[in-house]
Point group: C2
Chain length 335, copies 2
């Protein structure tokens, strides 16, 4: 299996992706294609020892920064690392791709270059969030604003398949994010979506509310990308503020630092719960081949998690199953 990595994207590129690639080539039984400036990547790689047949560098002279208008940049910068990576994926030179760079540019590359699965009108970004009951999926976490109910139904189906295959959750529960639990609650979009989810081939548990995100009430949280982005960033922001507060609580003086030693185990577990790095990247679901968005601030550990996740994404045939499900739904609709 070959995983293609946009090695120029993200706050810690190219150091973090290269380090993670070396570790993955060693430990995960995968080959890695690193895409980016030849000389920079070769120099970065030269400090490691690794099997040369496991890691290939493909040159890409340009980079799309976080400040560029994504779709425009993808169209105009033919030699951007994310664009070259997407072309390799499209051509079958690799089995999945991963980028820690500009989210919009990765989404645009997925849509415009890798291409949508036939029948999927809007691929969705699916993020794994920590909860009291383990990682849960938020879909769509920001790829699409102004969704239609049929989009949300497809998100629910794709998310369920991913959680079942990649995270090994049997019969994953699906909740529709709304402003109340009762069936009648919601805005126009969720009210229209509710009955459709009831009839979809998923384990639908009804409306859920914001408080269910962290409680982990549903394995798959379905929402429009605007709402999903707000949830994701609210949780991230609160995680930062709370972590700072907890840290501040222990850093006041000698005695409180001593106390920190006593609760080190609990502190580490707490940190781990709040740590996005444990959860790999965010899969873009609905493209013809697996595309994964790694967090912009990923260190080597986080990139490694995302490579591991990409491997599982490929191995467990998520994409094929999405295709099969969408086809069978279309067949039913045509009956």
């Amino acid at each position: 299996m070959k995983i293609i990595i946009d090695a120029m994207g993200g706050d810690n590129a190219p150091a973090a992706p290269v380090k993670a690639a070396v570790k993955a080539a060693e430990e995960l039984d995968v080959e890695i294609i690193l895409v980016g400036k030849n000389d920079i990547l070769d120099k970065e790689l030269s400090q490691y020892s690794y099997k040369k047949n496991k890691i290939t560098v493909v040159n890409a002279d340009e980079v799309i920064s976080n400040h560029e208008e994504p779709a425009k940049a993808v169209r105009s910068k033919k030699e951007a690392s994310v664009v070259v990576a997407a072309k390799l994926l499209k051509n079958g030179d690799g089995d999945a791709m991963l980028s820690m760079g500009n989210t919009g540019a990765l989404l645009a590359s997925g849509l415009l270059i890798v291409g949508r699965i036939k029948g999927i009108s809007r691929p969705a970004l699916a993020t794994l969030l920590p909860s009291a009951k383990g990682p849960k999926m938020l879909i769509d976490a920001g790829a699409n604003t102004n969704c239609k109910s049929d989009n949300l139904v497809q998100f629910a189906i794709m998310g369920s398949i991913y959680m079942r295959n990649v995270l090994a959750i049997e019969n994953p529960t699906v909740g529709l994010m709304s402003n109340g639990e009762e069936e009648g609650k919601g805005d126009e979009l969720t009210k229209e979506t509710y009955p459709k989810l009831k009839n979809a081939p998923i384990n639908f548990i009804g409306n859920i509310e914001g408080r269910d995100v962290m409680e982990g009430t549903a394995d798959v949280i379905v929402c429009d990308g605007f709402v999903g982005n707000v949830i994701l960033k609210t949780v991230e922001g609160m995680g930062h503020v709370v972590s700072r507060k907890v840290k501040g609580m222990f850093m006041r003086g000698f005695i409180t630092k001593l106390a920190a030693l006593f609760v080190m185990k609990g502190l580490n577990e707490f940190k781990q719960t709040m740590d996005y790095r444990e959860y790999g990247g965010a899969p873009l679901l609905g493209t013809k081949r697996p595309v994964i968005k790694g967090h912009g601030s990923s260190d080597a550990k986080a990139v490694f998690s995302a490579i591991y996740q990409a491997k599982k994404f490929v191995e467990t045939n998520v994409t094929d199953e999405i295709v099969k499900n969408i086809n069978s739904m279309e067949d039913k609709a045509n009956d």
Copy 2:
């Protein structure tokens, strides 16, 4: 000044509202009208000593529970405590009202009985949320789904007036909740609202994102009630989960409990930050007289905070200023 309290609403009614009323009558230079079943309230009051001319009981034989359909219940239950309270407010028998009961029923009572300020098409529920920079306002926190851009502009104006008058924040900043900071980001609603907020008589700082909620980037966070409800409940839910985790960290054994003593001061500050009780209730902005929703799980301390807040709401002439601002905007529009 007279504050009307629906003494039958909320998880801890009537004990908490009655206890808070006695304390408020003693300490806040206000008179209190308690609305609910005569015999129950008289019995509850009989355990306290207080100046009889400071607290009046007005009988209301019915209660609207949290499980009832709000608008229907408000129309059919003429003797419900929240309905009777709203009628007293409308008739000028008191200066503000407060309920910890069914949120929808309070909103419906505010709308149907107290009535909207002329020119305000949708009164909004404004919640104060904790942040790294003190309490910030989320408006609309759930009264209205499917808002129009003109509604959001009115929310921004009303929220700014409240934050300036009641929380004494000079020139409060207003942020529009979106899925990206740039002006072009957002869904249809926020894209349409952005230019209108730029021209409104407020201190608009542009789009903000979910992470800004807890960072406290804006004093007033403007959004549709669907999104606001999701944010509010996500933050509340995360607060619960994190508090449980932090508590669990210290309750593992003797040594960790000892450690808790060392960081007691920090722990208490942490708890306080996460504690909705510090922030009083959620004002409904845009009704002819002040209406405040207290948290359903309010204890006497939280009800007391909400009474204090109701008093400031009245004293600082928030409602009059909203009327003035809306009139002057209409005059401009008609010029």
